[in-house]
C-alpha cells in the first residue's frame, strides 16, 4: 500500500486532520505568546512584529501554515461528508448516550465552528496583516500597536473577537484530545491526562487571545 493511499482511508485521513490540527495549535501557542508582548508595551510589540516580518523564513512559513490549514479543512470536510453519506436516512428520535461518551456541544459543532473560524481568520488577516500601515518613530518599523489600539477601541470589534475566541476554544476542546485519539496516542493510562490537557490548552488559548482586545479596550 502506498503512503498516499494509506492516508486517504478514513483512519489515514484522520491522521492528517490530527497532525495538521496539532501543528496549527502549535502556531496558536507561538502566536499568543507573541501577542501577549503587547502587554509589555508598544515598543516591545512593534519590535517583535518587525523582527518577525524581517525574517526571510516568514514567507515560506506563511505558505506552510496555509498548506496545513487547507489540508486540515479538506480532510475534515471530507470526513463530515462521508459521515453524512453513511447515514442517508435520519432517525425520527435521537438521544445522546451519556455515560462514558465524550460527545459535547464542542464535538457536535466542529464543522460549524470550523467554518466560523475560517471567516474570522479572513477578517483577522484583512484587519491586521493587510490593514493600514502606520509608521512608528523607528525608521521602517510598522506601528502595529497603534493599529491594534484603534481596532479594539470599537466595542463591536472587541465583542466579535471575544466571541470568536470562545468558538476557537470550543473547537480546540474536542480537537486537541481527538487528535491524540486519532493518532493512536491515547493509551488508557494517559486518557484522562490528555483530555484534561486538551481542555486546559483550549481554555488558555481562547482566554489568552480574548484577554488582549479586552485589555486594550479597557486599559490602553
Amino acid at each position: 500500500m502506498t503512503s498516499l493511499k494509506a492516508l486517504s482511508t478514513s483512519v489515514g485521513s484522520k491522521f492528517l486532520v490530527a497532525l495538521t490540527g496539532l501543528s496549527l495549535v502549535g502556531f496558536l501557542i507561538a502566536h499568543l505568546i507573541g501577542n501577549l508582548l503587547l502587554l509589555a508595551g508598544p515598543d516591545t510589540f512593534n519590535a517583535y512584529g518587525h523582527a518577525l516580518i524581517s525574517n526571510p523564513l516568514v514567507i515560506p512559513a506563511e505558505f506552510g501554515l496555509l498548506g496545513l490549514l487547507l489540508l486540515h479543512i479538506y480532510k475534515a470536510l471530507r470526513h463530515v461528508l462521508l459521515g453524512r453519506r453513511a447515514r442517508p436516512h435520519r432517525y425520527t428520535m435521537r438521544q445522546w448516550a451519556g455515560g462514558p461518551s465524550r460527545k459535547s456541544w464542542s464535538s457536535t459543532t466542529m464543522a460549524v465552528s470550523g467554518v466560523i473560524l475560517l471567516i474570522f481568520l479572513v477578517t483577522h488577516i484583512a484587519t491586521f496583516k493587510f490593514g493600514p500601515y502606520y509608521p512608528s518613530a523607528d525608521e521602517g518599523v510598522r506601528d502595529l500597536s497603534r493599529l491594534v489600539q484603534e481596532v479594539f477601541s470599537s466595542p463591536g470589534y472587541v465583542v466579535f473577537y471575544v466571541v470568536a475566541m470562545g468558538i476557537i476554544g470550543m473547537h480546540l476542546r474536542h480537537g486537541i484530545s481527538s487528535a491524540f485519539q486519532s493518532l493512536g496516542l491515547m493509551t488508557p493510562g494517559w486518557t484522562s491526562a490528555v483530555l484534561s490537557v486538551g481542555l486546559g490548552l483550549a481554555v488558555i488559548l481562547a482566554g489568552g487571545f480574548a484577554l488582549i482586545p479586552v485589555w486594550v479596550y479597557l486599559f490602553l
Binding site: 485521513s13 453513511a86 425520527t92 448516550a97 462514558p100 461518551s101 465524550r102 484530545s177 493512536g184 496516542l185
Partner: protein, 248 residues
C-alpha cells in the same frame, strides 16, 4: 400495564417507511422487550395483519441478532444491556416507546426492524482471523500470555457484532466493531504475525462497505451492550500507524 408503541414499518428496502402506532395491552412487568413485541405480533396475526418483522435468536444478550433503536438510543435505556435483555419493568403503564431500525447505508433495511449486516461479515472476512496452521492441539501453557493481556483480549473479544456502535454513531462508523477485532487479535501472539496486513485490510473493507469515519465522540462505547471501550479505536489507529511504517 399497557404501553403505546410507535414502530417503524417498512414493507421492503424500496418501500416508503414510517412510524405506526400500536398499543401493547396486558403487558407484564416480567416480560422481556421481545416478549412484549411477540404479544403485539400475536394480536396483529389474529387480526389478519402483517406482524412486525424483527430478527432475534438467543434472546440472552450474547448473539447480537436483535438490535433496534428504543426511544432514540441503540438497545434502549440501560447501559451495557442488549435490548433483548431489556425488561418491561423498566416502563410504566401508559408510556410511549419509539422503536426504529438501525439506520446506516452499510446496513440496508430488509423489512421493518430488520437490517442486513453483511457488511460486518465483509470486514471480518478481510482479516478478522488468524491464518496459522495449528496442527494438533498443543499444550495450553506452551504459549504464555500474561493474565492482564488475556483479560484485555477477552474484553475486546466480547463484541457480539450487533451493530449498535454503527447505529449510535453520527457518522455510522464501524470503527469500534473493527477495532475490537483488530485489538483482540493484535494482543495475542497468534494474531500478531498478521497484524500489519490485518489492520490495513480491515480498514479498507470498513471504508468500502460504506461506513463513515470516526469523530472520536465515544457514543459507540456508551451504547455498546458489551462495554467495548474507545481504547480499541486508539489501538486500531496505533496498529495502522505501525503498519504504514512497517510496509515502507
Amino acid at each position: 400495564m399497557n404501553v403505546h408503541l410507535k414502530v417503524w414499518r417498512q414493507a421492503g428496502p424500496a418501500a416508503p417507511g414510517g412510524l405506526v402506532d400500536y398499543t401493547a395491552t396486558g403487558v407484564s412487568a416480567d416480560m422481556s422487550f421481545l416478549e412484549m413485541l411477540d404479544s403485539v405480533n400475536e394480536t396483529l396475526i389474529a387480526r389478519g395483519e402483517d406482524p412486525i418483522a424483527f430478527a432475534s435468536d438467543c434472546r440472552e444478550g450474547i448473539c447480537g441478532t436483535f438490535g433496534v433503536m428504543v426511544d432514540g438510543r441503540p438497545h434502549g435505556p440501560d447501559p451495557c444491556t442488549t435490548v433483548c435483555q431489556l425488561h418491561m419493568r423498566r416502563y410504566n403503564d401508559g408510556d410511549t416507546i419509539v422503536i426504529e431500525p438501525w439506520q446506516a447505508r452499510a446496513f440496508p433495511l430488509i423489512k421493518d426492524l430488520v437490517v442486513d449486516r453483511t457488511a460486518f461479515d465483509t470486514i471480518i472476512q478481510a482479516g478478522g482471523y488468524t491464518s496459522v496452521n495449528t496442527g494438533g492441539a498443543q499444550d495450553a501453557n506452551a504459549i504464555l500470555i500474561p493474565k492482564t493481556v488475556a483479560d484485555e483480549a477477552m474484553d475486546s473479544a466480547q463484541c457480539i457484532g450487533c451493530g449498535a456502535c454503527v447505529a449510535g454513531c453520527k457518522n455510522a462508523s464501524a470503527a469500534l466493531f473493527t477495532s475490537a477485532k483488530i485489538t483482540h487479535l493484535s494482543l495475542l501472539p497468534q494474531g500478531q504475525m498478521e497484524a500489519p496486513t490485518r489492520v490495513v485490510a480491515m480498514i479498507e473493507a470498513m471504508d468500502t462497505s460504506g461506513f463513515g469515519g470516526c469523530s472520536n465522540e465515544g457514543e459507540c462505547e456508551a451504547v455498546c451492550p458489551k462495554g467495548i471501550s474507545l481504547k480499541n479505536i486508539a489501538t486500531m489507529n496505533r496498529e495502522y500507524r505501525k503498519a504504514l511504517f512497517a510496509n515502507r
